[in-house]
Symmetry: C2
Subunit: 243 residues, 2 copies
């Protein structure tokens, strides 16, 4: 087994190193990196068949790293190790995992024993090991009823970036009315009609547009990181389209 680890927190990193060395005897290779760029760089050598990734890293996240790795070597076994079950990440992962790939998702809050099991499950037994809580989020994201469709998610992204209806229409190549339609169904999915707060006079006290962002954030559908990434995509599109 040839293992690559990417984790920005130094305490967590050394913890992982100790645990991994203790769990696996026949470790042919073990490299530790502290950011996404370093991980991708290290992976270039082609030495590794197993990767352990922290999701939240500055600049390049674990999801980005996984994407690059799987693009080059789709059978690489990857275990994600993260703080929370942020839907923004989970959604990102299920979208990029190749059919053949083995992967796992475990929370940092899990006891050491579970982490150990996940390590062996994914890297040795080649099983997919998904933490129960994460599994729940995943199911919700797939479910058409409470989850957002791809189109609605795009609309949410554009909305959170602060685009106008017109700009959304231009970006997505649809009519103005369509962009607005997508927003409407987004609002509905987020529960913006029969909104909480049934208390009398404050019925119309929410602005759908901004309230949608608020809800998306508190529900973890989007987070500041994801936003920054979307911002970059937007910038790229804008320079491309004006050229």
């Amino acid at each position: 087994m040839r293992l690559l680890i990417a984790e920005d927190d130094k305490l967590h990193r050394s913890f992982l190193e100790r645990l991994v060395r203790h769990t696996f005897d026949g470790l042919e290779e073990l490299t530790l990196t502290s950011d996404g760029a370093g991980a991708i760089e290290a992976f270039r050598s082609g030495k590794y068949d197993c990767v352990l990734l922290d999701l939240q890293m500055p600049k390049i996240t674990g999801v980005d790293v996984a994407k690059t790795i799987w693009a080059k070597a789709p059978t690489t076994k990857i275990l994600f190790w993260s703080n929370y079950t942020e839907e923004a990440y989970v959604r990102g992962i299920t979208k990029i995992v190749p059919d053949a790939a083995v992967y796992g998702y475990i929370l940092k809050s899990a006891p050491d024993e579970q982490l150990k099991l996940a390590l062996q499950g994914v890297f040795v037994a080649e099983q997919c090991v998904i933490d129960r809580e994460v599994r729940g989020v995943q199911r919700r994201a797939d479910n058409r009823l409470s989850g957002l469709s791809e189109l609605e998610f795009e609309a949410l992204a554009d909305l959170c970036l602060g685009l106008t209806d017109k700009a959304m229409a231009a970006r997505r190549n649809v009519s103005l009315r369509s962009a607005q339609s997508r927003l409407q169904s987004l609002y509905q999915k987020l529960g913006l009609d029969k909104d909480d707060i049934p208390s009398g006079e404050w019925g119309a006290s929410f602005n759908s547009r901004t309230r949608a962002i608020s809800l998306a954030l508190t529900q973890g559908i989007l987070n500041a990181d994801a936003l920054r990434r979307e911002e970059e995509k937007l910038q790229a599109w804008m320079s491309r389209s004006s050229a």
Copy 2:
């Protein structure tokens, strides 16, 4: 010295314990807790004169804990230990620190040596020790030019919660026009006029209202945590005002 530590990450917690025990010999008392509620609970005993706090904790943050502690014992020495220099936190702290209090703010990314110095500086020498990066954010927040006034911050909060102009006016007890004025000056401070993106045809492609949220988030003026807290305040206000 009687020290109380609150830190939710178990690795960081045990690291702190080791470091603290190694730094201070004459430690009369040392307690570790893993969340804000536990810290407040433990502090009730009145045994502690020094506290080491992680800022980001679920439910009750380090800022909340500090507030409660200082309300009861304003001379308690507190050292904040946190991941980032989130303006939302820094702003919160400078607002609640009593005149007489000694406190410090150090980043988790700092080398052990600096943390050790901060521990001794704050708890023994009774100096205020503020990390250089944090200091920068602090200054920016105090600076009228780039920082937000209290009123503008309120407007931002309301905006991010998804309130309409009318609702903001009602909540803050001002006229509709005033609420809008506050928004305008907020937009200006956030740089929503001479916005980035000078690229030709996309001049009016941003919706001020939502773009403001986007900027606030990416600039770290607000984060998901802070938002959740504001949401609670809002709920409280709504039930109070309808009663």
